[in-house]
Amino acid sequence: MSEFSLWDIVYNLLLAARWTVLLSLTAFVLGGLVGLLLLMVRTAGNPWVIRLVRGYVELFQGTPLLMQLFIVFFGLPLIGLDVSPWVAATLGLTLFTSAFLTEIWRGCVESIGKGQWEASASLGMNFTQQMRYIVLPQALRIAIPPTVGFSVQVVKGTAVASIIGFVELTKAGTMITNATYEPFTVYGCVAVMYFLICYPLSLFARHLEGKFRHVAR
């Protein structure tokens, strides 16, 4: 058995933390794009599409992230796709993120007064132009603080990806624990690293909330 000093533990955890950051970023960006798409088709307003998107959101908000990852991880091979833990984790977290973000952003778009829509329609704007020039720029200001706040949930969500075998911070913690038998130190370090990633995001979100509170009114 090799000897691990505290520095070895921290160093190896830091290496793994890069994957946590990468997975979080990927899921957040892709999830944001899918969420935006869902928001657009939903706001465009075919009642069936609205129901469908609502069902999608309900499904992802009403089931555990772990189950979503399991279904992607065990389900896709059944239709002949070979998925690595990385692909399954990215796909699962992207869908999860998109459902939450589209719901957050829906609230922001709905908070834009009806008069804004009517005024822009009376200027002869079509739906895309209304969204692009009138509604989204205003909704964006309101949307930024809760979106940044949600990014913390994404980072924490990546920990669940360790269960389907993706080696990120938590999984690395488990592996190092199995080698060192020092769970207290190792999981303590793991928790500190998550904290160092998440806390600045939380602070930033809170700062933005305070800043935009005056603008919204």
């Binding site: 009403g62 059944l78 969500g157 990546t158 207290f184 303590g188």
Partner: protein, 223 residues
């Protein structure tokens, strides 16, 4: 070769899923009741005039809210025995859920307390109520009523989060699912069904909390 779905393969193992649902419910109920209780105390401490206690609670809230539940669970189950605190799987799972929900509900309930108009408290003071009485009779119920939807969502999130407790072999619903798929290799079918069960449970829990909220808050309006 196309895969043939066989959901019938789960039926013989229904007992495992049933036990899992029961245990997940137990975890959720204990976690929610004690967790919200902890949250009320935390919010009380945050609002108190003793800065040290308020700061300690603040650190607790931030630590929990900025680390994953899975890591908290591992720390409690694998890490605490190093300090001589040995817990069973169930105890560790419940403790993790309580600690987790306690932090979130502290923050949620605090927001509710801050929304109580200052005049209410001043009126209570002028009736010579002491601080405990004011909190008990004037502040806490309206505060809880205001934030009940947010608190309900958080309880549902904690219930769904309990699925990772299978990782320390607490025998809840996901544990049952893992066990069944290890027996019959029907991973997709099992997880599909269990996802459906979670969905039903979260809808029922949401409805139950709504009914509870009506019961707790609406009647007292007239009193």
């Amino acid at each position: 070769m196309a895969y043939k779905f066989d959901f019938g393969a789960i039926v013989p193992h229904w007992q495992l899923l049933f036990d899992g649902v029961i245990l997940t419910t137990e975890l959720t109920v204990i976690g929610a009741v004690v967790g919200v209780g902890l949250g009320i105390m935390g919010a009380w401490a945050r609002a108190s005039r003793a800065p040290v206690i308020s700061q300690i609670v603040g650190v607790y809230v931030e630590l929990i809210r900025n680390t994953p539940f899975l890591v908290q669970l591992f720390f409690i189950f694998f890490g605490l025995p190093a300090l001589g605190v040995k817990l069973t799987e169930f105890q560790a799972a419940v403790l993790a859920m309580i600690v987790n929900l306690g932090a979130y509900s502290t923050e949620i309930i605090r927001a509710g307390i801050q929304a109580i108009p200052q005049g209410q408290i001043e009126a209570a003071q002028s009736l010579a109520m002491n601080r405990v009485q004011i909190f008990r009779y004037v502040v806490i119920l309206p505060a809880l009523k205001k934030i009940w939807p947010a608190l309900s969502s958080q309880i549902v999130i904690v219930m769904l989060g309990s699925s990772v407790c299978s990782q320390i072999a607490a025998e809840e619903l996901t544990f049952g699912a893992n066990y069944i798929q290890a027996l019959n290799f029907r991973a997709f079918e099992v997880y599909f069904v269990v996802t459906g069960l979670y969905l039903v449970m979260s809808i029922l829990l949401r409805m139950g909390l709504k009914v509870l909220g009506n019961f707790l808050f609406e009647r007292r309006r007239h009193v």
